[in-house]
């Protein structure tokens, strides 16, 4: 007796793909749901919120002089520094003048960024200049081992930060054949030959790079003088980022001191993300049920749109939970609602998808670059979600077709 065994490879693969995809979908939904972090003790499925990491401090600065232009420039540079470092909220208020003719600035910071580094960004003028050693100072005196650090022991030169277009921090090989970070001073092209002459006059000598009165020595080599670089005393990427910002955010025109700093209560909008997640899920389901009942939309489109929405939000939340990315809870519902609306519009208007998506991504890129406060964070998250939504709309259409075939 012969047994005929019919095996349809295509149908089998279809089944397999649909089963795998369903399993993936269900897993992401389970991980994304609130409180499912309690299903496993081995893996953490907690949504990390930024709320407990917020701190707020008021810094009071005293600026020498009352020139309004200097004041505005100082405010601009401090704003630039704080924005580049990703400080969520920074307000710089002009408090007027004191009796001694100094200008007072009040800076209020509310952020989750490193407290010490934010303080460094505010309290340092970062006045960079190149100096030569004073001949009458004994830098080898064992009784004064720190003589080389203080700017008073050096003669000023005409060279300062304004002669360099950029100071680039990168890893370079040291004489020990190890890698360390250096700040490379890149000159304006019109100053290059003059600087070469200056360096040529000091071959084999120690120069000093003064930053706010503290000097880093630089031994001018005899042979290759094409790179002017001083060591950066850290390998921590966040500290290097802060140093890079201090070097490259503009030249503060006046001296200033940090007079006082007071801790404040960080006033942030705290949202119970579990309650909000339940709220969003209920509102999404209710909206789709209502749309299906009033028959304003085609049922097939509603199915595709609903599946794409659930998938997009689930994958996004799952990624946040697994990768332990901290998030501002109040931004979550805003992003979710906008993506619900976007997916619904994209599913209904096949003819407009490319225009809507390109218009949105282009606009959000501009907003990300030029926005202030939480606006760039919202824009970045929305760009990610739009791309994810696009993928999920395609996958949902494909999945529904495959299920129908089976």
């Amino acid at each position: 007796m012969k047994i005929k065994f019919k095996f349809n490879v295509k149908a089998f693969l279809n089944y397999l793909i649909v089963i795998l995809f369903s399993a993936f979908g269900i897993t992401t939904i389970l991980v994304a749901l609130p409180l499912t972090e309690k299903i496993s003790e081995k893996t953490s499925f907690n949504l990390i919120t930024k709320d407990p990491y917020y701190w707020s401090t008021e810094y009071n600065l005293k600026l020498t002089g009352t020139n309004p232009k200097d004041l505005e420039k100082t405010r601009d540079i401090l704003s630039t520094r704080l924005k580049k470092f990703g400080v969520e909220r920074a307000k710089i208020y002009n408090k007027g003048q004191d009796d001694e003719g100094n200008t007072l600035l009040r800076i209020v910071i509310t952020t989750t960024k490193d407290r010490d580094l934010v303080r460094e960004l505010i309290s340092n003028r970062f006045d960079v200049s190149i100096m030569t050693r004073k001949e009458d100072v004994d830098f080898l005196n064992e009784e004064d081992p720190y003589a080389y650090i203080f700017a008073d022991n050096y003669n000023p030169t005409d060279w300062d930060r304004s002669d360099f277009r950029n100071i680039y921090i990168t890893e370079l090989k040291t004489s020990n054949n190890e890698y360390a970070n250096f700040a490379i001073f890149k000159l304006w092209p019109n100053r290059q030959s003059e600087f070469n002459t200056f360096i040529g006059q000091h071959k084999g000598e120690y120069l000093g790079v003064s930053i706010d009165g503290f000097v880093t020595p630089y031994l001018v080599p005899f042979d290759d003088t094409s790179i002017f670089a001083i060591p950066v005393s850290t390998s921590d990427p966040i500290q290097i980022r802060a140093i890079d910002i201090l070097y490259n955010s503009g030249i503060i025109p006046v001296n200033y001191t940090l007079e006082s700093e007071d801790e404040l209560d960080p006033k942030i909008i705290e949202i119970d993300h579990i309650k909000v997640s339940i709220g969003l899920a209920i509102s999404l389901i209710l909206s789709y049920i209502y749309l299906a009942l009033i028959k304003q939309s085609d049922f097939e489109i509603l199915k595709k749109s609903f599946l794409a929405t659930v998938l997009t939000i689930s994958i996004y939340l799952t990624a946040l939970k697994i990768l332990q990315i901290p998030i501002d809870t109040f931004l979550l519902p805003i992003q979710a609602i906008l993506i619900f609306i976007l997916i619904k519009v994209l599913s209904e208007n096949d003819d407009s998808v490319i225009y809507i998506e390109s218009g949105l991504i282009l606009s959000l890129l501009i907003i990300k670059i030029l926005g202030i406060g939480y606006i760039p964070t919202l824009a970045t998250n929305l760009i990610i979600l739009i791309l994810l939504a696009k993928l999920c709309v395609v996958i949902s259409g494909w999945y529904i077709d495959k299920v129908r075939e089976i």
């Binding site: 704003s79 209502y290 003819d351 501009i366």
Partner: protein
């Protein structure tokens, strides 16, 4: 107007220039895109008015909230213009997409664009209304006010867009 003056004075030049550049660039780039896609003066004009009106409405609403209802305008309200721009791009984008695909067809008329826009706007409004209203039940205080204002403004902008389109295409 004290609220806007104080906001403006407390911003550094860097922040003022960034925000002005952001909105100017958005306006220019979106209009150039619409011009390139549709090459239709009426649609470009419709988009200019729509974007400007949504900006003015946002300012008026925030002012009303502060002056009439004595609600403190916190940092979160800075997100309202971005959300409204998002909604506006969706609203304008549907008509631009419909026009670019159907404008060369035999049966196309600007009246059909108007009909399509009404259909889209009704669906859009129902969805926004349902979503925001059912979600609002779970919120309180400042965030609730922010969500409600943003929802109301979104709906107003969708229907102001319809009025503008209706006036331009008669």
């Amino acid at each position: 107007m004290n609220i806007f003056l104080s906001l403006w004075q407390n911003w550094s030049n860097y922040e003022k220039i960034s925000i002005l550049m952001m909105f100017s660039l958005l306006l220019i780039i979106l209009l150039v895109l619409i011009k390139l896609i549709t090459n239709n003066k009426k649609l470009v004009f419709f988009s200019i008015i729509s974007l400007i009106v949504s900006a003015i409405l946002t300012i008026i609403f925030i002012w009303l909230l502060n002056v009439v209802f004595s609600i403190t305008i916190t940092y979160i309200f800075l997100l309202t213009p971005v959300i409204l721009l998002f909604i506006n791009i969706l609203s304008i984008g549907t008509s631009v997409g419909y026009y670019s695909l159907h404008s060369k067809g035999k049966n196309f008329s600007m009246q059909s664009l108007k009909r399509e826009y009404v259909k889209d706007s009704i669906q859009f409004s129902i969805f926004i209304l349902l979503l925001f209203s059912s979600f609002s039940v779970f919120l309180s205080s400042t965030f609730l006010i922010f969500i409600l204002i943003t929802a109301i403004l979104s709906l107003i902008i969708i229907w102001i867009n319809y009025i503008i389109l209706y006036q331009l295409i008669k």
